[in-house]
């Protein structure tokens, strides 16, 4: 395993400057991802979003007397798949423990989680930040129940509790404290999310709360031992993760430089103010009294089962990226852009299939993505299908149209739809490649501009003007390369 070692170099671009010198930020993340499944981890209720209160709740979810948990095999498979995607150790025997505490959205008075023996052990995630590749260690992944929701703003004296989310399966993915900047943390979460979405084990939708992070931050002078950390809970966007880390690191540095010390505590990120603040419930430190859940036998499965799941895994971002670079000759940068989302990568591959990969990449990234971003559309909602874009690329490749005309064609397909080849035919957009016709046009321009022809002999850059004239006279349809060649020859430059 190749995680970035604790900085031995005296200087790193990630250090933060304080009044008393440089500071190093140490960040660890605990990411909670909702497992993509139809029903809950230990009950048969739906995991669907936005249902009326307590309608996705069974007797088991509501912790009625005498109720018992029954585990969902697909949730187990999803956790294993995720572990494989993290190149992690899969534990064929793991144990469910009860984490005991009281809260209205925790109906059993305990959460079923995994404490000492989680389903997945150590793994790693590769990220790229500012062109630099870094391997972030993953400590473990375990399955646990999500809690319900309390609404505190409906009444001055009462809270309203909805258990729809209670019992939904979560994967908690704990990183090692290998991250050294807010950018790295953001890249890590982005990559993790991408892996989950590729695998289909979580939709990673942060707006819906299906992916959230607890961010652990501490600071120290480079080379010193680790500082006291604070945990910022439930940060639910990549942007906020960055902001929270920046604020918290600065907060801690200021305190220490002023002569104070950091209290280990749990904090919340206030998105409106861009600050972290201490959670007011200052109870005794939680004593969760973990013990193995006596209603659940240990979770066991065979290595064969793991291999079976492995054989059916989709290609992961890193593999796809490597393949795109090798098979299609793409640059690392372009490959990164394309594999960020599986849907984008799949789209690109359809366009690139049987065509020049670089050309396809250029069109997908610069034309298509550019346009999608401008209109705030996702690739799934692209008005131009991969087949249509592929047809445009074909038309360029066969010299039927020029690059510039292709852009016009793209615009037409975007706004009106239709088959690109047919459009080219109907609207007479075909490129003129017949050298005889081009020669005729070139001759006409040369004949009409004898002074310029003379000037061109001394100043070869005037070729551009001639090209422009020929293109104009052919309504933009002449093949620019051919025009160039013929002009050069005839002008003698």
């Amino acid at each position: 395993m190749n995680s970035q070692k604790v900085a031995e170099k005296p200087k790193s671009k990630n250090f933060i400057e304080g009044a008393t010198g440089d500071w190093e930020v140490i960040i660890g993340l605990e990411v909670h991802a909702q497992v993509a499944s139809n029903s809950k981890l230990f009950s048969g209720s739906s995991t669907g979003f936005g249902a009326p209160p307590n309608s996705h709740v069974s007797l088991v979810d509501a912790a009625m007397p005498g109720m018992l948990p029954v585990i969902n095999r697909e949730c187990v498979a999803q956790a294993i798949r995720t572990g494989l995607g993290l190149k992690a150790q899969i534990n064929t025997k793991s144990v469910f423990d009860r984490k005991n505490y009281f809260y209205p959205d925790l109906p059993q008075g305990y959460q079923i989680s995994q404490y000492k023996q989680p389903i997945v052990g150590e793994g790693e995630v590769e990220i790229t930040v500012d062109g630099e590749m870094l391997t972030v260690g993953v400590e473990r992944l375990h399955l646990e129940q999500d809690a319900g929701k309390s609404l505190h703003d409906q009444h001055p004296d009462y809270s309203y509790v909805d258990l729809n989310r209670s019992g939904v399966a979560l994967m908690e993915i704990v990183s090692k404290p290998d991250l050294r900047s807010s950018k790295q943390a953001q890249a890590y979460v982005t990559k993790l999310r991408s892996i989950l979405r590729y695998l289909g084990t979580s939709d990673g939708d942060m707006d819906k709360g299906n992916l959230r992070a607890d961010v652990n931050v501490s600071v120290r002078k480079p080379g010193d031992k680790l500082g006291t950390r604070c945990e910022i809970k439930n940060v639910n966007s990549i942007r906020f993760i960055g902001q929270a880390i920046e604020y918290e690191a600065r907060r801690q540095i200021d305190i220490i430089e002023d002569g104070g010390k950091i209290d280990q505590e749990t904090r919340l990120f206030d998105a409106a103010k861009g600050e972290t603040r201490s959670m007011r419930s200052k109870e005794e430190a939680h004593d969760y009294r973990y013990f193995p859940d006596p209603d659940l036998l240990p979770l066991e499965f065979s290595n064969d089962y793991v291999e079976e799941l492995k054989s059916k895994l989709p290609e992961l971002p890193d593999e796809k990226r490597a393949r795109f670079i090798e098979s299609f000759g793409l640059s690392a940068y372009d490959a990164d852009v394309l594999v960020a989302e599986r849907a984008s990568a799949d789209y690109f591959e359809k366009v690139a299939g049987g065509r020049d990969g670089k050309v396809a990449a250029n069109w997908v990234i610069n034309e298509l993505f550019g346009r999608l971003n401008k209109e705030g559309k996702a690739i799934e909602d692209s008005p131009v299908s991969s087949a249509q874009l592929g047809a445009i690329v074909d038309l360029i490749g066969s010299n039927a149209i020029s690059g510039k005309i292709a852009k016009d064609l793209f615009e037409i397909v975007w706004t009106e739809g239709g088959d690109p080849a047919e459009i080219v035919d109907k609207r007479g957009m075909k490129q003129v490649t017949d050298t005889g016709a081009i020669e005729k046009a070139v001759d006409a321009i040369i004949a009409a501009n004898p002074e310029k022809v003379e000037q061109a002999k001394a100043k070869p850059s005037m070729l551009g003007w001639f090209v422009g004239q020929v293109m104009k006279s052919t309504g933009g349809k002449a093949n620019p390369a051919a025009v160039n060649d013929i002009l050069k020859a005839k002008l003698g430059i």
């Binding site: 007797l59 509501a62 912790a63 009625m64 007397p65 005498g66 109720m67 018992l68 948990p69 029954v70 585990i71 009860r98 005991n100 009281f102 209205p104 109906p107 059993q108 008075g109 305990y110 809270s159 509790v161 004593d287 009294r289 973990y290 013990f291 006596p294 209603d295 659940l296 036998l297």
Partner: protein, 499 residues
């Protein structure tokens, strides 16, 4: 007409089949008896006569149509730990208040699907924690048995029926139902059966589903019947047991016809007598009871073997770590949020604390606190983990014994029924009631109590049989031999019917 309440379940089943009486007549006989007796005994916390009559009438239709199910028309009592759909279920605790489950326990449903009739919900120690039924929110259960005083005359001292299934054992012994459901976590079926001269079996852990039974200690709880005879217990267990997909600790194995083995006898059976059960200060009459049991089995063709179960004495302290630990977690759901009692406080925490203080009785609170303590930070290894390791050793003792013997015979309890208040002064004194029974729950084995004789005070004593996992059949045929030799024990005078 003979007093129908005096029939055994098997005899009643026979009577219905022969049309000697109807299911409705049978049910009415019990309803009348309960109305008369319950003020004196307090065995039932909820009587359900109308519900029972509806079931009985339906049974009569089926019997007439020739489609009688195994327990058709047979009236039973249901321990108030089993959730009953639309019918108040309290675990005999104030904290469940007027809880009306919207669901039926699997064991209960099995019985109603077999045609049984429910007369009502039976009293028990609160949340099944106790050995005398003196902790119920509905008040104590009085045993129908009375003991001879020092003057040799029957005393009117109120005796305990055992616990936690005290309502079940008292009701069966007093003829207030043909049989009853019960649960056993440390002895709560076997000890009450022993104290009331009835038959009680706690099957192997996993034999009956725990779904819909108010949970006390998940790795120890098991449902089972209390009946008047070994045959009646067999009839009941066959109907109660099943594999349940909703309880993944229940076992997917066919349920044998326990009645079929009753006459098979014990020829060649190897019976183990564990020396560690001969505790210091054991009373001579308990020793005699044990010797009688040995003699009966021997003369029926069994061979008797001395065995050692070296970790026996550690079962009780280990139990009093594991059971409270699990219960402290299982009872956390009783917080006044979703059902049951809520006692309002200044804020949420206050509300929780008030609710749970007022809702739970003293013994339950004590066990929750012990359980919370032994699981708390720094103590888990020393207590809970240690106790679970000792448990492995207890089971191992039995695994080794099964190489030598097929069944183990011991007394069920260290003494006969005691009077109210005699053991409530010191919690430990009460805990020691379970000294012979807890090993069985700790090892997950089946255990049965069958009446063996009377004490010098004229009150019942029971013999306990312990078997291999899922070998309830051996327990049943062995118990039958004991019952044939010892005879049935019946309360000589039905004083509770006299008002």
């Amino acid at each position: 007409m003979t007093d129908l309440t005096k029939l055994t379940m098997a005899e009643a089943r026979d009577g219905l089949a022969k049309k000697t009486f109807t299911a409705l007549e049978l049910t009415d006989a019990f309803i009348t008896a309960i109305e008369k007796a319950n003020p004196a005994l307090n065995a039932y916390v909820l009587q359900t006569p109308e519900h029972a009559r509806v079931q009985a009438k339906d049974s009569d239709k089926r019997i007439a149509a020739g489609s009688a199910r195994p327990l058709e028309g047979l009236p039973i009592g249901n321990k108030d730990l089993f959730c009953t759909r639309g019918i108040r279920t309290t675990a005999c605790s104030n904290i469940l208040g007027e809880f009306h489950p919207t669901y039926e326990s699997t064991v209960g449903q099995n019985l109603w699907d077999a045609g049984a009739v429910m007369l009502g919900k039976l009293n028990n120690d609160e949340f099944a924690m106790g050995s005398s039924n003196e902790t119920s929110a509905f008040g104590n259960v009085v045993s129908p048995w009375r003991r001879k005083g020092k003057d040799g005359k029957l005393s009117t001292d109120k005796l305990v029926p055992g616990g936690s299934s005290g309502g079940s054992s008292a009701a069966v012994a007093a003829g207030l139902c043909l049989a009853a459901t019960a649960t056993d976590t440390g002895g709560s079926i076997r000890q009450p059966a022993a104290l009331t001269g009835t038959v009680g079996i706690k099957p192997t852990y996993g034999r009956c589903s725990r779904w819909g039974i108010v949970a006390f200690a998940s790795s120890l709880d098991q449902a089972g019947p209390i009946g008047k005879t070994v045959r009646d217990a067999a009839i009941m267990l066959k109907a109660m047991a099943s594999h349940d997909l909703k309880d993944t600790t229940s076992v997917d194995a066919p349920v044998p016809d326990y009645e079929a083995v009753l006459g098979k006898g014990v020829k060649g059976l190897r019976v183990g007598i564990p020396r560690e059960y001969r505790v210091e200060g054991m009373s001579p009459e308990i020793q005699k009871l044990w010797d009688d049991g040995i003699a009966w089995l021997k003369s029926a063709g069994a061979t008797i073997h001395d065995i050692s179960l070296p970790h026996t004495k550690y079962a009780l302290p280990a139990y009093y770590i594991v059971a409270p630990a699990e219960c402290s977690s299982n009872l956390a759901r009783y917080d006044g949020v979703r059902y049951g009692l809520r006692v309002n406080g200044d804020n949420l925490i206050d509300t929780y604390e008030n609710t749970r203080h007022q809702g739970f009785g003293k013994e339950v609170r004590r066990r929750i606190l012990i359980g919370t303590y032994v699981l708390s930070a720094g103590y888990y290894d020393a207590y809970y983990l240690k106790a679970q390791k000792v448990r492995t050793l207890i089971k191992r003792d039995f695994d080794e014994a099964w190489n030598k013997v097929d069944v183990v015979l011991t007394p069920t309890t260290p003494s006969p029924a005691f009077a109210f208040g005699e053991k409530t002064g010191d919690p430990l004194a009460m805990y020691l009631e379970d000294i012979f029974t807890v090993t069985v729950n700790m090892a997950g084995l089946p255990g049965m109590s069958v009446p063996g004789g009377l004490s010098s005070e004229g009150t019942p004593l029971g013999l306990q049989l312990i078997g291999k996992p899922f070998d309830e059949e051996t327990l049943f045929r062995t118990a039958q031999v004991i019952e044939d030799a010892a005879g049935r024990l019946s309360v000589p005078d039905a004083w509770w019917m006299k008002g």
